[in-house]
Amino acid sequence: MRLELIKRPQQSAFFSAVSPLFALLLTLIAGVIIFTLLGKPPLAALYTYFIEPLSEVWQLHELAIKAGPLIMIAVGLSVAYRSNNWNIGAEGQFIMGGIAGSLIPILVPGFQNFMTLPLMLIFGFAGGALYGAIPALLKTRFNTNEILTSLMLVYVAQLFLDWLARGVFRDPNGNNFPGSIRFPSAARLPEIDPAQGAAHWGFVLSIVAAVIVWAMMQYSLKGFEVKLLGESPRAGRFAGFSSARMVFFAFLLSGGLAGLAGISEVSGAIGQLRENISPGYGFTAIIVAFLGRLNPIGTIAAGLVLALTYLGGEGAQMSLGISDKVARVFQGLILFFVLGCDTLIHYRIRLVFGDPAAKTAAEG
């Protein structure tokens, strides 16, 4: 028995719409299997994972805190991947954005007015964009594979942050704990509705970024350029678009948004520069980008789903004693299923049972 793919004459609109849902359904089924293997009641576990974290208002705030950075990063990545530039180092750009934005409250703690926060956000964007420019420069100038360089830079950024938080930026009055001074309130992204929960304006920024980038992709020439160069570089060159400039655009935008997410996290959720500021947001955002069909608006829904796996993981650990590592397995599985289901958009799948003609042809 084997699979046979038959190309559809045109993309299936139906599967385009339902394939992410299909993938989520398969993930739930896989969840039942995993929980059963772990000896936990599967339905109760799924409830704890995917329903319980949504039952109270403060929990929705927690969801927004986790979804904000995921959406912001994934919006940029979806543009980069559309243009066929494989930036997988968003985690590093996130960290560098967090560092660059924190320079202001750490180095000039006296500078506290209405300009502090906007400047920090600009620094954050610039820090991430500049760090993202390294793989872009190496790709355009030296023809170096951007997948490997952008990923290697993640490790470099993590170690650099570790050095800062334990070394030069350590709070002198912090009892030798790693981490900078706590930011003054002028340098903190405020909470949206402090009476209800802890969510900060970073989430709103992410939604705004998603809408702006979506409009750019949908209505502007730049959006057309991204899609054209991604799908057919040759046709793009004939149209007079430069693929080298596109590499920079993709990396500066995705790196910048990752950096903006980084400073939002530091200034909104954490309040100081620590040796570890991300539970792998930069990598999870890759999953978000694909689950959102590489569409900036789609990443909003996808970001909320992935944020739910983080929260569900914490909840399941507390109430059922299930390792929070299971959340990571879920995240990996979602991407697998999304990619598999996407095949249905372009192909019909046929099961062939023992086809002797094909067999002799194959063995020749």
Binding site: F142, N145, F160, I286
Partner: protein, 306 residues
């Protein structure tokens, strides 16, 4: 002089997992498939090898379990990237993410437990030869396997008909298909070989290099192995040079950390990653040469027509 031998021994130990994983991925890429999941398969190999060795008491069963685990995970990649013709970059990435997640879940109960080390070779008299005895006759078994594996892959790719077919598929899957070669079958086998190698490389980490389980203990070695394949221009013997260069950088920075020098340890720790970038830049600078050396169908899905 004995210190010199000791340093060379530690370099060999640091290089062996890189060599094993890279040589496996080289075969995969020669068949035209780019599997970015090396890191994930490696970390799964590390945890499964460690767990199996601990539970059975036999490190060799651990090695076997690691190879099988790596192969199983690579089959998952194969099903998507080969049978369902998905985007190989994204599929490989998801394999890495899944592998890291799964390994954390499997290994949770093994964190901090003392592991079992695969014993070194010990041949009476020969191993005791001063200066070179332990280097040639007294290393861990996987060191010898890694060299044999490299020699075997060289022989297979360039001296056998099947190897020629595999390279032909990597360069032009359409022509190979037209000649009646079963492209998908070859690719499945190549991907499984790569998975087995990545698993074995992981086992080296958790059964030889540091016999314990630490979350994420591969620390990017799978990605460095991928870079080594590019560095080698897809030639097996050059992978040895690359792997040992990186082993030397890793050990060198560890010694520098021990000596101090006043350089922050984080900067020294980032050296292997920076070195990877520098080496990649140097090797891919010549665009024409890179295009010539890269398997022409690399990372392109193939859907056979009927």
């Amino acid at each position: 002089m004995d210190m010199f031998q000791n340093i060379l021994l530690t370099i060999a130990t640091a290089s062996t997992p890189l060599l094993i994983a890279a040589i496996g991925e080289l075969v995969v890429e020669r068949s035209g498939v780019l599997n970015l999941g090396v890191e994930g398969m490696m970390v799964i190999g590390a945890v499964c090898g460690f767990a199996a060795a601990l539970m059975t008491g036999s490190p060799w069963i651990g090695v076997l379990a690691a190879i099988i685990a790596g192969m199983l995970l690579s089959l998952l990649f194969g099903f998507l990237a080969i049978s369902l013709a998905t985007n190989q970059v994204a599929t490989g990435l998801s394999l890495t993410l899944l592998g890291i997640g799964l390994s954390g879940m499997i290994g949770e109960n093994f964190v901090g437990q003392a592991g079992i080390r695969l014993p070194n070779l010990d041949i009476p008299v020969l191993t005791d030869i001063p200066m070179v005895g332990r280097l040639i006759f007294g290393q861990d078994p996987l060191f010898y396997i890694s060299l044999a594996l490299t020699a075997g892959v060289m022989w297979f790719l360039f001296k056998t008909r099947t190897g020629l077919t595999l390279r032909a598929i990597g360069d032009s899957h359409k022509s190979a298909h037209a000649l009646g070669i079963n492209v998908l079958k070859y690719r499945y086998l190549a991907v499984m070989f790569g998975g087995g190698c990545a698993g074995l490389a992981g086992a080296h980490l958790s059964l030889v290099y540091t016999p314990q389980w630490v979350e994420n203990m591969t620390a990017g070695r799978g990605w460095i192995a991928l870079a080594l394949v590019v560095f080698s221009s897809w030639r097996p013997w050059r992978v040895i040079g690359g792997a040992y260069l990186f082993g030397a950088v890793t050990i060198g920075q560890l010694h520098a950390q021990a000596l101090g020098f006043g350089i922050p340890s984080q900067f020294l720790s980032s050296l292997p990653y920076v070195a990877t970038i520098v080496v990649l830049v140097l090797i891919s600078r010549n665009r024409r040469l890179t295009v010539m050396n890269t398997p022409a169908s690399l990372a392109q899905p193939f859907v056979p027509d009927r």
